[in-house]
């Protein structure tokens, strides 16, 4: 187990910068996700940490040790690939034993460790199978076992659940997370799935265009996004243009085209400045009758989502917002409603 430090990491392919000046600290035993759309540099970052790509500049440290120029095989990492990359010509036993053999662990000691890790990933009895005779979920577990059996200092996962069906993916999220907690292994996890990263991570690193936009806990990222891109990428976000009326102690009162409301903010603001308020659909409430702190608008669409109902509402200034109300609300398409903001969950973007 070790701490991972990334300092000023950049990676360019030809003239194209895939990763630009990234700094990141992952504490011992921490589970950190790199989250972003495809092409945001998250996989490149992971591959630099693995030593599969050579950084253009910057440093990577495991604990105190600079590994930037260390070949992959000497980094003591475990990695799980999106395609699993199981060796098709080796049985499950030999796939898992490969890393042990490469590190000089053979014979009964190797057998013991393979058996132990197979037990951990709940695959006992499949030792003699070839990978192609396994289901996708089983292959995933073999890949995980193979990465863990050498007791690496760092576990790297590159979209490991992307090829599984939805049910299995849900199950594996919890499985991987609880296994990681149990082993206390420092983990860097690449995903483009925001709910996956929120469920699994201690902290999330949100990346766009090769740069880090925000590093924070799932709730920070969700309720207090640093940028509009982050707000939009992580779940649904309503963006409301407004002007600051007054601001103190992290709470600002803003005036928008459709009403005045208060908002949390991470920085001091000057009255009169133009800002964008971000409100999650579930932080809005439909109310009957007019209220000074509420917007009013017209319901243009209603979608039943199961536990909630999604209302699309056009405000007076033409802004389309989305409100998630608990089921049973009888408001119908075309009706006029007022919308109330939960000030603790409204957030002013930078």
């Amino acid at each position: 187990m070790s701490r991972l430090t990334i300092q000023g990491l950049s990676k360019a392919f030809g003239n194209v910068a895939a990763v630009h000046e990234i700094d990141l600290d992952v504490a011992e035993g921490e589970f950190v996700s790199l989250l972003g759309p495809s092409g945001c540099g998250k996989t490149t970052t992971l591959r630099c940490v693995a030593g599969l790509e050579e950084p253009t500049s910057g440093r990577i440290l495991f604990g105190e040790k600079d590994v930037t120029r260390l070949p992959t095989e000497d980094r003591m990492i475990g990695m799980v690939f999106q395609s699993y990359a199981l060796f098709p010509h080796m049985k499950v036993r030999d796939n898992i034993g490969f890393g042990l053999a490469m590190r000089g662990v053979r014979g009964s000691e190797a057998d013991k460790r393979v058996a132990k890790v197979l037990d951990i990933v709940q695959l006992k009895g499949l030792e003699e199978r070839y990978p192609r005779a396994l289901s996708g979920g089983q292959q995933q577990r073999v890949a995980l076992a193979r990465a863990l059996v050498t007791e690496p200092a760092l576990l790297l996962l590159d979209e490991p659940l992307a090829n599984l069906d939805a049910r299995l993916r849900d199950e594996m999220r919890f499985f991987i997370r609880s296994l990681q907690r149990r082993l206390g292994i420092t983990t860097l996890y690449v995903t483009h799935d925001q709910s996956e990263s929120m469920i699994m991570s201690d902290r999330i690193v949100v990346m766009f265009g090769g740069r880090i936009h925000q590093i924070g806990g799932p709730e920070d990222i969700y309720y207090r996004p640093a940028t509009g891109e982050v707000a939009n990428f992580i779940g649904q976000a309503n963006m409301i243009q407004a002007t600051v009326v007054e601001s103190r102690d992290g709470v600002a009162t803003v005036e928008s085209a459709c009403g005045r409301f208060s908002c949390a903010t991470g920085r001091p603001l000057v009255a009169g400045s133009r800002v964008t308020a971000m409100v999650r659909p579930e932080a809005l409430r439909l109310v009957n009758g007019a209220d000074r702190s509420a917007f009013s608008g017209q319901i243009v669409a209603r979608h039943f989502l199961g536990s909630t109902v999604d209302y699309r509402i056009v405000l007076a200034d033409g802004t389309l917002i989305s409100v998630h109300a608990l089921g049973g609300n009888a408001s119908q398409t075309g009706g006029r409603v007022s919308v109330e903001v939960d000030p603790s969950k409204a957030w002013l973007l930078q």
């Binding site: 095989e73 990695m79 395609s83 060796f87 098709p88 193979r146 790297l156």
Partner: protein
Amino acid sequence: MKRWLFALPAVLMVALFVLIPYLNIAVMSFRTPSATAIYGPGFTIENYTRVLTDSLYLGLLKDTLLFAVATTSICLVVGFPVAFHLARTNSRWRGLLYAGVLSPLLTGVVIRCFGWIVLLANNGLINQLLGLAGLGPYRLMYNPVGVTIALVHVFLPFMILPIMNSVQSIDPRLGEAARTLGASRARSFARVLLPLSMPGIQSGVILVFVLSASAYIIPMLLGGGQVSTMPTVVVQQLMGSLLWPFGATLALVLSLTALALVGLFGALTRRSMRGVA
């Protein structure tokens, strides 16, 4: 329509142009020689006892197989890196490289042999260049060296193409996975990439071996009568001495020996193919 009917044209082709001629050769190889006809009356095993006891013909068989083994080995060593590179490269020159590999197949084998004669002759291009450096001239043709050079050149694509195919079907992540598990580049190659490219290596080796063992024009032209292989002697027997039964025996012995060696090679490599193909 029965589905087997679709296979009928192929089956007929094989029967007509492969099985029947082979049967004909097999029968011919037991005939007696004749000065006035293609073969004389009655049957004999004399042809076989002659081939299998006469050190001349056994030496010829050995030489022919040595040519084939040498050509195959050189093609494998030279071709594998090319195949590997072609399979993995993203270079924009890829199409050009591919055409380069295929180019030996674009002209007839006779033309290519004359090309080599121009290069390898005692006053040919290579010896002239060596002469400028104060070396040589070396005898590069009308001997086994020239024949082997031409065999390698002509049959190299048959090694490269199947290996390239095999390597292309290997997930590049497999090599990376091996590296993350502590394997050096060399071990990752030996334990993962090489075993997984075995199907291509196997096809390439068999193709080049069989083709070079049965090559006639190349040893003929670049051997210039100084190099004898089974196929050149078979043609001598048929065209020169008009000894059809003995020629048939020689041809069949070469075919069966090559077949046996291919079978042996297949058996030896089967273990390493487990789980791959």
